[in-house]
């Protein structure tokens, strides 16, 4: 295939990128010549992929993730790898081993996380679209904080092959862009069946969003506006929901009691999966090698202490503890029961309404360094984790500002009904245009 070259030399003052490709090749296709950024936990053949971790510094994947192959096939120019919280573990991108990304809307604030680099690159105008990954809100949170659009697809609709896994049962790769139309286009390109991902489902996404939402039933769970949600954020989001009502949607308040346990269930599940997943990082097949003169355990422990940041080590420890003999029933088994309740709540709600709406995040973007203790950072994920526990699709679309900082409206839909979710997001985006 004939290749052309896109020259890419951005002014990366917000530290959105970990690696850039100054001469990015591209070909013909639906994304021909469009610069697309890729979160640095997604494998790119020949381009360093670090997960923002010292343990993977220098790692050059020998193969492309399926989504990256699909981007290249449609002619996209892969222009760089974006910053993230190490292995995706965080809500601010401050947990990157290579320094934080700043929020283009206010550089004294975080861009959200963990796909903060991708969101900042789009918000700063360096690229029109990017790939992120969402384990507990990692696409939607930075989309909300930076004022862009981000979609977490239904579990299984986008291949995870080549995604460096952290919590397999929760995470999905998804599209991020400045507009609903661009997000939609990127979702069309990356979705589809992949035999190399055993959880892949053959439900390709082909859709042109329509702003016509007359008769769409929008459920608003009271819990989405509960404790911890800044009342001023709530009021911006309610205004957005009113706009949808004026466009002909029917707004119905409802309850989602499983939310009370969703966050604890999420953190037990993701740390448990992390403790198993991250055992592979021993420096033997890639990364900085262990000292082969020492015993396995000595060199392995030393390597991992040097290579992993504090939050990564904390999550591995928490997960190891939650799965350890004597505690499994108290933590992991209970978390799976809570997860089942979340799924059951969505099933019940989606028999009554077509989508759910609420804020993406309980607050606007935090100041850098503001969330210094891990538990308070975890608590800010309360509105995004339920969708990951159940595997349903959810989009964050910008719905105004508070003191100049972006606020996101989150629309959640039935399994494999991204089409409906994107229509409501599009209706809001078009309706809110001045």
């Amino acid at each position: 295939m004939e290749k052309e070259i896109l020259s890419f030399h951005p002014d990366d003052r917000f530290h959105a990128f970990l690696t850039t490709v100054p001469e990015a090749p591209f070909s013909r296709g639906r994304l021909s010549g469009i610069p697309v950024a890729v979160k640095d936990n997604i494998s790119t053949a020949g381009i360093e992929t670090t997960c923002a971790s010292r343990i993977l510094k220098g790692y050059i994947p020998p193969y492309d993730a399926t989504v990256v192959g699909l981007l290249r096939k449609e002619g996209a120019a892969i222009v760089g790898k974006t910053n993230l919280d190490e292995f995706g573990m965080g809500t601010t991108t401050e947990n990157s081993a290579f320094g934080p990304t700043l929020n283009p809307a206010d550089p004294s604030r975080v861009p959200g996380g963990s796909s903060g680099g991708s969101a900042a690159a789009i918000a700063a105008g360096m690229v029109p679209m990017a790939l992120g990954t969402d384990t507990g809100g990692s696409i939607r949170c930075p989309a909300a904080f930076c004022g862009i659009v981000g979609l977490k697809p239904t579990y299984g609709r986008v291949s995870r092959y080549g995604l460096i896994a952290y919590a397999n049962s929760l995470e999905q790769i998804g599209p991020m862009a400045g507009t609903v139309t661009d997000t939609n286009l990127l979702m069309e390109v990356i979705s589809g069946y992949d035999p190399r991902d055993s959880t892949s489902v053959d439900r390709p996404y082909r859709h042109t969003p329509t702003p016509e939402i007359r008769g769409v039933r929008i459920g608003v769970p009271e819990e989405f506006f509960g404790e911890g949600v800044d009342p001023r954020v709530a009021s911006v989001v309610w205004e957005a929901i009113s706009l949808l009502e004026r466009k002909g949607a029917e707004v119905i308040t409802c309850r989602m009691p499983s939310m009370a346990y969703a966050l604890a269930a999420y953190y037990v599940t993701c740390t448990s999966e992390a403790s198993s997943n991250l055992a592979r990082f021993d420096g033997i097949r890639y990364g900085t090698p262990p000292d082969t003169k020492k015993t396995w355990h000595e060199s392995f422990q030393e390597r991992r202490r040097q290579g992993f940041g504090e939050e990564v080590r904390r999550r591995i420890l928490l997960g190891t503890f939650a799965l350890s003999s004597g505690y499994y029933g108290k933590y992991y088994a209970k978390a799976q029961a809570a997860r089942g309740n979340v799924r059951a709540d969505y099933e019940r709600l989606f028999s009554e309404v077509d989508v759910l709406a609420g804020p993406t995040m309980p607050t606007v973007a935090f100041r850098l360094g503001e969330k210094s203790d891990p538990l308070s950072m975890y608590l800010s994920d309360i509105l995004t984790v339920p969708a990951n526990l159940a595997g349903v699709p959810a989009v964050s679309v910008p719905c105004g500002t508070l003191d100049g900082l972006p606020v996101g409206l989150q629309i959640t839909g039935r399994w494999f009904e991204e089409e409906q979710v994107m229509d409501v997001a599009y209706a809001y985006e078009q309706g809110a245009k001045p």
């Binding site: 009370a260 396995w296 202490r305 891990p374």
Partner: protein, 89 residues
């Protein structure tokens, strides 16, 4: 409540070294988070197995995969086409 000794033991199980000066901080954070996890004691219901799953293993036929030199390309310690690892015993 878990003690500093417990955290050290878990770190040993997980092959994560913790320095002495980090131990107190890790233990404090650990207990804060575990206290929050205690919420789960109130959860009713059985562990869900998720949506119905079925076996999708493919036939045992050789398909194209990465060549050996690509697989070894990122390893610093290797010998005669093998990864070199620390001794186990």
């Amino acid at each position: 409540m878990v003690s500093e000794n417990d955290v050290e033991h878990i770190a040993e199980l997980a092959d994560i070294a913790i320095e002495r000066d980090e131990l107190e901080g890790f233990t404090t954070r650990f207990n804060e988070i575990l206290e929050y996890f205690d919420l789960l004691d109130q959860v009713q219901g059985e562990a869900s197995t998720g949506p119905e799953t079925c076996n999708i293993l493919r036939g045992d036929e050789v398909e194209p995969s990465l060549p050996q030199d690509s697989v070894l390309a990122n390893a610093r310690e290797k010998e005669e086409g093998f990864f070199k690892a620390p001794r186990v015993m």
